[in-house]
């Protein structure tokens, strides 16, 4: 499913956070939003996930303005994994994943056999079948993040939005989560839009990168075009040497020092 953003303006009170953002994300691509702290990247993903209301501009799913679609209908196509999420201490993994079926449930209806199969499928895809009866709070950070991704999968979305899915995770879990995201994108064709802090990870796992700086869209393109001395110097204020990762076919860099 295609995601199009047109002329997006977002304010917190009087403060303008995003300024006239427009881009078009093709179906089946992984796009990573990057930018320094406070640049507005999380705001952008929160606005696309309709948690924040833009003052101006529109968001389109397959050319239909999301304002014209019922919010439950949107949730059947667009799943969101925010940074801030909460789960009661006695909720099991399977229970959490079953909440992903909420947008598909009719008023007062219980989970059907089909819903249960989809929950099972989501658990299997994320490798959580064995742990489905455990309480979510007892899982490791990486497993917990996988459980939330499984909940999003149970929505059967065509687009998945992830707001810093690797934050607070150890490096091994970070890779586990990103590998899973990549695999879901490859095997199921889910369009992914995420925010990442680690630029090298972003470059490695993305088809496209979108740079937000100071509320403006600075650049949007493939990792090899985006990761440049210019970007690192002007946006992230570091001098770095850029190399090519021939195995993963993507650029990577090693920071040298802070730009004077």
């Amino acid at each position: 499913m295609e995601l199009k953003v047109e002329g997006l303006n977002v304010f917190y009170g009087d403060k303008k956070i995003l300024n006239d953002i427009s881009f078009n994300i093709k179906s089946g691509e992984i796009t990573t939003i990057i930018g320094p702290n406070g640049s507005g990247k999380s705001t952008l993903i929160k606005t696309i996930s309709r948690y924040l209301k833009p003052k101006g501009g529109s968001i389109y799913l397959d050319k239909v303005n999301i304002n014209q679609i019922n919010t439950k209908e949107i949730a059947r196509n667009l799943a969101v994994l925010p940074q801030v999420k909460d789960v009661s201490s006695d909720i099991s993994v399977e229970e959490l994943v079953s909440y992903g079926r909420y947008p598909h449930l009719k008023f007062g209806k219980r989970l059907s056999k089909e819903d249960k199969e989809i929950i099972e499928w989501a658990l299997e895809k994320t490798g959580l079948l064995e742990m489905k009866d455990r309480c979510v709070v007892t899982l490791s950070g990486g497993e917990r993040q996988r459980a939330w991704i499984a909940m999003s999968l149970a929505q059967k979305p065509k687009i998945l939005l992830l707001d810093e899915p690797t934050t607070f995770l150890d490096i091994c879990y970070q890779f586990e989560v990103l590998e899973l995201v990549k695999e879901l994108n490859k095997t199921l064709g889910i369009t992914v839009v995420m925010v990442l802090h680690d630029l090298n990870q972003a470059a490695r796992y993305s088809d496209k990168m979108l740079v937000i700086n100071n509320g403006d869209l600075w650049e949007y393109g493939e990792p090899c075009e985006i990761v440049s001395e210019n970007l690192l110097k002007n946006i992230f204020k570091i001098d770095a040497d850029i190399y090519e990762d021939k195995v993963n076919n993507c650029p990577y860099f090693i920071p040298r020092k802070i730009t004077a």
Partner: protein, 330 residues
């Protein structure tokens, strides 16, 4: 498989809660200032309509027990919802000002316009709703944050409490008549009171049972709930309205009965877990059982003198509240 066992276990707890409530109901009917044995009660209800026992059972104990049950259910549900949507274990109709709003309006009617006593329930709703909407308005800043909502509730609550005290200061001669109301009591309850609370309690209960899964979704956090296609602001508002209607109905009948809305939801959550599809029905039973039993205690403890049930509730509730505070720190 395990999920299935969990469901069976929870259903069993639910049935136990129901039995607890039914047992409480019978204990309340059997016990009172006048000793009436179980056999006499059966006789009174089914065979001898004109006796004193019949009068006591049918026109005193039965309406009082039913009222206690509905009051308990309403306050407990109200507290359970508030604790859920505010994601704060200390939220309850008393603390966030819903009760004091209803209380002030009822007090105004009882003291200033005693001839219009029949308007008490209506004014209690208006009070509860106004207080709720006011608190909501105060807490609103691009959506409602939980902390702001609770703080605004505490502030409004003390303001309304000051209003209560002012009225009592200006009309000292009428204070003795409303003491029962201030602490929460069920003395002199009759069928009229049942009629007052019944329709609102039933509507609230049915609505809650129908949309309890929305509370589960809300518990995941505002952003997750939005992502799952739940209109968070609208849903929260709907639940706040239901909760103030339930609390308002209860307050208009029983007065400012504290702690039910705090303790009962807690104990019930400990028993059956936080899944609202089980928590709501369980709270219906535990809420009713707790108030029925406390009221029975209030009637028989110093019989023939009876004390307001609010005193019993506070005596049990205050230590429990402190226990919760202590435990949260750990």
């Amino acid at each position: 498989m395990n999920q299935q066992n969990e469901k069976i276990k929870k259903s069993a707890i639910l049935i136990a809660c129901m039995c607890f409530s039914i047992t409480g109901f019978f204990i309340s009917i059997v016990n009172g200032a006048v000793k009436i044995s179980f056999v006499e009660i059966v006789n009174a209800i089914f065979f001898e309509e004109a006796t004193v026992n019949y009068q006591i059972i049918m026109n005193v104990r039965l309406p009082r027990t039913i009222t206690a049950s509905l009051v308990g259910t309403s306050l407990a549900l109200s507290g359970s919802i508030l604790q859920g949507i505010m994601r704060n274990p200390l939220a309850s109709p008393n603390i966030i000002g819903v009760s004091s709003g209803a209380g002030l309006m009822t007090l105004i009617i009882l003291i200033l316009f005693p001839d219009y006593y029949f308007l008490a329930p209506l004014s209690a709703f208006i009070g509860a709703l106004t207080a709720t909407l006011f608190i909501y308005f105060l807490a609103w800043k691009q959506g409602v944050a939980t902390t702001r909502l609770i703080l605004a509730g505490v502030a409004v609550s003390s303001l309304l409490g000051a209003g209560n005290n002012a009225i009592m200061t200006f009309y000292p001669d009428k204070v003795s008549g409303v003491i029962g109301f201030m602490v929460g009591g069920l003395s002199a309850t009759n069928w009229k009171h049942v009629d007052m609370i019944f329709p609102y309690a039933i509507v609230g209960i049915i609505l809650l049972l129908l949309i309890s899964n929305k509370l589960n979704i809300l518990m995941l956090g505002d952003e997750v709930a939005t992502g799952l296609g739940l209109n968070v602001e609208k849903t929260k508002f709907l639940f706040i309205i239901i909760s103030s209607v339930l609390a308002g109905a209860a307050v208009s009948v029983v007065g400012l009965l504290g702690f039910v809305g705090l303790i009962v939801p807690h104990i019930t959550r400990q028993l059956i877990g936080s899944d609202y599809r089980f928590l709501i029905p369980a709270t219906i039973f535990t809420g009713s059982a707790v108030v029925i039993l406390c009221d029975t205690l209030a009637r028989v403890m110093f019989a023939p003198v009876e004390i307001p049930v609010g005193i019993i509730m506070s005596a049990l509730g205050a230590p429990f509240f402190l226990y919760l505070l202590r435990r949260k720190k750990e």
